[in-house]
């Protein structure tokens, strides 16, 4: 168990090193002649107007919110799924109830029109 996570840890470190190598190499051999025009923000040749921080639709937030709740729900379902084989049928129904309660939330958001992109 301990060794598995040690392996994952080393893998993660290497996974971060591998992409850095070509970046460093590129840094060494590639030319670097920056000038203000090259470095200006690319918007199809049109001068940038105002701040990058255009107002975003609040709708993005609502979808992220529904996602968060369902993400946590599925996390609860994984232990449940692993216990199915050993436990009686009743346990399946517990999980179904769990899912059903959350689907009620999805239905509410749907009826409230929060799943529309408008």
């Amino acid at each position: 168990m301990q060794n598995e996570w040690l392996y994952i840890g080393i893998f993660l470190v290497f996974g971060l090193i591998v992409p850095i190598v070509p970046l460093v190499f590129s840094r060494l051999v590639a030319p670097r002649k920056p000038n203000p025009i090259k470095q200006s923000t690319y918007e199809c040749g049109v001068e940038t107007v105002g701040d990058t921080w255009v107002q975003f639709k609040a709708q993005y937030y609502v979808f992220a919110l529904v996602f968060l709740i369902f993400d946590v729900e599925t996390v609860f379902l994984f232990p449940w799924a692993l216990s199915l084989k050993q436990m009686p049928l009743f346990v399946v129904l517990e999980g179904v109830l769990f899912i059903g309660i959350l689907v009620a939330g999805l239905v509410y958001a749907w009826r409230k029109g929060m799943l529309e992109w408008a």
Binding site: A58, Y60, Q86, M87, G113
Partner: protein, 170 residues
């Protein structure tokens, strides 16, 4: 000093350093990203504690969902506080003092308990933590009630948040 302890100290340094950046850094988006680093450190801690499921769940829920939600919220409310001016209150030393006070108190409490100085026993062989967790969550003489109540809590949060966020309820 063993390898375990060195890994733990590095991990603790990552967590505490990132946590300090979370509460002091000026740009909110950086604070949110430092929070990701701190939470990742906590995930490593879970892995060291041999709670693999929680380590992965920590990444999935905190980094994959909660941190994203924070970043979205920062971006949605950015206009007003353009990260200019002081981000902390003028009397920030008062909370700092309180935090230090609580920390010293807790550390004294913990060091004073000899029971806390022991190291963990080896993980008993043949114990499938993951399956035990599943069984505990659904068996009736264990935690099935919290399991179902959690779903009701999540439902309430979803309904409440959607209601508040929808904004057309004046």
């Amino acid at each position: 000093m063993t390898v375990d302890q060195i890994i733990f100290i590095l991990c603790a340094a990552l967590i505490l350093g990132s946590a300090l950046m979370v509460v002091t850094t000026g740009k909110l988006i950086h604070a949110a990203l430092w929070l990701v680093a701190a939470l990742f450190g906590v995930a490593i801690l879970y892995a060291i504690l041999q709670a693999g499921f929680l380590a992965v769940v920590q990444v999935v829920v905190y980094i994959g969902a909660i941190a994203i939600l924070f970043i979205f919220a920062v971006m949605l409310t950015r206009r007003e506080m353009l990260d200019k001016g002081a981000q902390t209150r003028s009397n920030w030393w008062l909370p700092a003092l309180l935090g230090l006070l609580i920390l010293t108190g807790l550390v004294f409490l913990i060091i004073g308990q000899p029971a806390f100085g022991r190291t963990a026993a080896e993980m008993p062989l043949g114990v499938d933590t993951l399956r035990n967790l599943g069984m505990a969550l659904v068996s009736q003489n264990a935690f099935v009630l919290p399991f179902e109540v959690a779903s009701i809590l999540l439902l309430a949060a979803l309904v409440g948040a959607v209601f508040v966020a929808s904004g057309n309820n004046e």
